[in-house]
């Protein structure tokens, strides 16, 4: 199998990576960069625990191949509190009790971050749609939606 050399940005750093083009972004993140905050729950784009932000959009890292990364910008959960301080959204997840087992949490946060970047003041329906691909078996979603809504209000002020 052929190696390719990719240049892309990962969490604000310029990366040059030699790898097989058909490897999944999920494996690149977890195995090559030790970014294990991005989880795997199905491997086929159904659960959303692998969500990262690629060029501003929330995507499933298990469906993105390394070959697609050339020139792109990838942001993972580890980037949110990069200076140690939690983002407003992370803070709101804590305050609203939006975390239980935590396995869906990184993906949820990435979908919601992408949403808030794009739609500063989303309606409840927009929020639900944005996280409809992020399954959570613990919370019943209510606290997660509350946390996203409250963040939107806080950021608007």
């Amino acid at each position: 199998m052929k190696y390719i050399t990719l240049t892309f940005s990962l969490n604000g750093n310029k990366i040059s990576l030699k790898t097989h083009g058909n490897r999944r972004l999920l494996d690149v993140l977890r195995d090559d960069f030790g970014l294990t905050g991005t989880k795997e729950g199905c491997g086929i784009g159904e659960c959303g625990v692998c969500t990262v932000i690629l060029d501003g959009k929330a995507v499933n890292a298990c469906l993105i191949l390394a070959g697609q990364l050339e020139g792109s910008e990838v942001v993972t959960i580890e980037y949110l509190a990069r200076d140690g301080k939690l983002t407003e959204l992370q803070q709101a997840f804590l305050e609203n009790g939006a975390v239980q087992c935590g396995f869906c949490t990184p993906g949820m946060l990435m979908s919601a971050t992408a949403l808030l970047n794009e739609v500063p003041f989303p309606s409840e329906i927009q929020i639900k749609e944005a996280i409809a691909g992020n399954l959570c078996r613990c919370t019943g979603y209510k606290q997660i939606i509350d946390a996203i809504q409250k963040t939107a209000i806080r950021l608007k002020k």
């Binding site: 989880k39 086929i44 959960i77 992370q90 305050e95 087992c101 613990c138 919370t139």
Partner: protein
């Protein structure tokens, strides 16, 4: 009794484990990097029942780079559980499709897959049984000589007399399906061998269950340590199964002489791990015209699958929950857990309770519709109260809230008024549907329903279980005066760490930061019993309170000796007229001292598990729920729009987490009622993951209206009872009660899929309305 209002919740304490989770810093089992670790793979039976004729390894393949384990390699080939009937690997016979036969280990997945292609297993297929009724009369034996894992008979009063004295006999047969836990993190375990030591780390609920199973597997020849890794959801699915998985990992690791990871992908996980027991109920009620139930005869069959696992105790809970929240003087309950050639059923949040409550609530619906009485009225007439006795004759002495939770949801949901309004609203739509004139429907118009349920969950183990477990904890005073709790209670998302630290901190009157928890490692923590049965807060919590008392006593003695003065302790301070010492400062004097506590039920709790009489549970938690639903008259999609529920859990240690648990559990119950369907095709589950096993997403989430009612349990920590399981239990019957209300039809089976609703009208009109 007081009530929490949601707006009060924000100020209350948060979870202790959430911050690293939002940072993505928590290392779940797949996130660990273990040098030299190989991966394991399982080769499984394609038959539900077959003899294994032979296992051949292809000579042309280079086996030097692969480790192979078969039944012959296993010192004791039994997974130690209630019965030791399940092998780690099948040797002569396979009893379910997907049963493990051969294990492989290699450096990477590609090599494993290649190796698997060079293993040939020859089988002679045998007739298989998938039906609990066929199983009981079959000559094919799966378990014992009658294919029964357990049979329970409970009787009280005189059912014959009740029948004679009643106005009417009402019968219903109900059925519930498989349910998959679908924790977001699939099963995973790592085993690390070092000389005679094997260390197991994994996503699991009950470290001591795993330890016992692996100790037993190696016939005591290895030293076993079990460590719980952060666990991404469990719901009972990581209670019994990890013993089997850890056994596989340990066998491969020892044979390979290196660390070994067994990680299921989603498809393997949903195909072979335990499910909720499917159930069949045949229920008869003897009632008066006013809806009062004089007697019942309830028969329960649970499909236990191919091996016993925890079926006898699941069955016990089903039988002991069968009467729901009602007081009925004459009762006969017969319950059987039956073996079939299916993936073994196992623990799942509610543990036999959801099946039992669904059945009794549907019986109540049938009574209401037969007698033409409002369903809430029939419930109200029969609800149990303090001072009355349950089916086992247990006198309910305290903390009984069947009526309070019921009244509370009725009032908050506006049930009675909506019941009438929705009936009027539906009249025209139903008329068109019955005529088959779908074209007359207004666009976007929905049928509206409202349904109700009452439910209960006995807190802690069933019957004498707690006294058999003798759960232990230890608390130690650290050099800096903080206290450290050693218990085997595990966090899997339910908030156990927060609850335990909060209880200890409150009991000592100190801040939660001064209480820390030991890692869950069987070398370090005593066996406080498994984290199941909604028992941790109540049982472990009550031990912590006892321990706290002794800690205060000890520190007080040490302080008094040193200062040559006497002290009293209040609100975190030891003081007398001249001095005041904060707990943590004073406790430094007692550094290194520790106290161990062992649980026994309060002596007033007595149960006879031969006659099935007495106090089945020390106390019950109670809930009532009202589900409002909308049904699309064209597609028959059902959506729960609003879900109002009241829970009495004694005392909420963390009210915001209690509300979160209630919402999450309710949504699982809604999924159980409407979406989560598994069909069995020749012993094979027709699901592979999230696309064909549908769990509720954020768009299916109803508006939740949750309230907590506090009716303290005198022996629980601060009055707390159990919570974890109850929210799921009453959800399905509340949703299905709303379907009865709309369609005025008998609904006796879950899940209720749109196809089923469409058929109601196909029968009536002879037309295919869903086209």
């Amino acid at each position: 009794m007081s009530e929490f209002k949601p707006h009060q919740l924000a100020a209350l304490e948060r979870r202790v484990d959430a911050a690293p989770k939002v940072r993505g810093q928590v290392r779940y089992i797949r996130d660990l990097k273990i040098p030299g670790m190989w991966l394991g793979k399982t080769i499984r039976s394609p038959y539900a029942h077959a003899h294994i004729l032979g296992i051949q390894l292809d000579r042309k393949f280079d086996w030097k780079q692969v480790v192979v384990v078969t039944a012959k390699d296993i010192p004791v080939n039994q997974v130690a559980m209630l019965e030791n009937d399940m092998p780690f690997l099948a040797e002569k016979t396979v009893k379910y499709r997907g049963e493990a036969v051969v294990l492989l280990a290699a450096e990477n997945q590609d090599l494993l897959n290649e190796a698997a292609r060079h293993v040939r297993i020859d089988y002679k297929p045998l007739p298989a049984i998938f039906d609990v009724f066929a199983s009981q009369v079959s000559f094919t034996k799966i378990f014992g000589d009658n294919n029964l894992f357990k049979e329970i008979a409970i009787s009280r009063g005189n059912v014959e007399k009740a029948r004679q004295n009643s106005d009417l006999t009402i019968e219903i047969e109900t059925k519930t399906g498989f349910q998959e836990h679908l924790y977001l993190e699939p099963q995973g375990v790592i085993a690390i061998p070092e000389g005679d030591q094997v260390t197991i780390q994994g996503s699991l609920q009950c470290p001591y269950y795993v330890k016992r199973a692996i100790d037993n597997m190696f016939a005591g020849e290895k030293r076993i340590t079990v460590i719980q890794a952060p666990t991404g959801g469990a719901f009972g699915g990581k209670e019994d199964y990890p013993s089997l998985l850890a056994g596989h990992a340990a066998l491969l690791a020892v044979k390979a002489g290196r660390p070994l990871g067994m990680f299921y992908d989603r498809e393997e996980d949903v195909q072979v791990t335990t499910k909720r027991h499917p159930s069949y109920h045949q229920d008869i009620a003897y009632v008066n015209k006013d809806g009062r139930i004089i007697g019942v005869e309830l028969t329960i069959f649970l499909d236990g699958g191919a091996y016993c696992t925890l079926s006898p105790v699941v069955l016990a809970r089903s039988a002991l929950t069968a009467l729901g929240c009602y007081h009925v003087p004459n009762v006969r309950i017969l319950a059987k857990a039956v073996a079939t050639h299916t993936v073994p059923s196992g623990a799942f949040r509610g543990f036999g309770g959801p099946q039992a409550i669904f059945a009794i609530e549907m019986l109540i619906e049938k009574i209401a519709y037969t007698l033409n009485l409002p369903p809430d009225q029939v419930r109200k007439r029969n609800l149990i109260r303090k001072g009355q006795r349950t089916a086992t004759g247990q006198l309910l002495k305290y903390s009984v809230s069947a009526r309070d939770t019921f009244q509370d949801v009725l009032r908050r949901s506006g049930y009675k008024k909506k019941f009438r309004t929705y009936q009027n609203h539906n009249a025209d739509i139903l008329k068109y549907l019955r005529k088959g004139s779908v074209s007359s429907l207004k666009a976007g118009e929905k049928l509206k329903g409202i349904g109700i349920s009452v439910s209960q969950h006995g807190a802690g183990f069933t019957g004498t279980g707690e006294n058999k477990i003798n759960g232990k904890i230890r608390v130690e005073i650290l050099p800096d005066g903080r206290v450290k709790i050693f218990s085997a209670a595990t966090e899997m998302g339910q908030g156990e760490e927060t609850a335990i630290r909060t209880i200890m901190a409150k009991a000592l009157g100190i801040g939660r930061e001064a209480v820390i928890l030991s890692d869950i490692n069987t070398d370090v923590v005593p066996d406080s019993g498994p984290t199941v049965a909604s028992r941790t807060t109540m049982i472990v919590g009550s031990l912590l309170i006892e321990a706290a008392k002794e800690i205060v006593k000890k520190v007080k003695i040490d302080l008094s000796t040193k200062r040559k003065l006497s002290f009293t302790y209040r609100n975190g301070f030891f003081h007398n007229s001249s001095e005041k010492h904060a707990f943590q400062d004073a406790a430094k004097l007692s550094a290194g001292w520790s106290v161990e506590k062992q649980y026994r039920h309060p002596p007033i709790i007595q149960f006879d598990d031969i006659l099935w009489t007495g106090d089945a549970y020390p106390v019950f938690s109670w809930a009532a729920a009202v589900a409002e639903i909308e049904v699309d008259p064209i597609t028959f999609d059902v959506r729960v729009s609003r879900y109002t529920t009241s829970h009495d859990i004694g005392k909420a240690i963390n009210p915001d987490q209690a509300v979160a648990q209630i919402q999450g559990g309710s949504l699982q119950g809604i999924g159980y009622a409407l979406y989560e369907k598994i069909r069995l095709e020749e012993g094979h589950f027709d699901i592979t993951g999230f696309t064909d096993y549908i769990i509720p997403t954020a768009t299916e989430m109803p508006e939740f209206e949750v309230s907590l009612i506090e009716n303290p349990y005198p022996y629980g920590p601060f009055g707390a009872k159990g919570l974890g399981e109850l929210p799921l239990v009453g959800a399905a019957p509340a949703v299905v009660s709303a379907l009865w209300m709309i369609f005025q039809e008998e609904f006796n089976e879950i899940p209720v899929l749109p196809e089923f609703l469409a058929k109601i009208f196909e029968r009536k009109t002879g037309k295919n309305v869903s086209d």
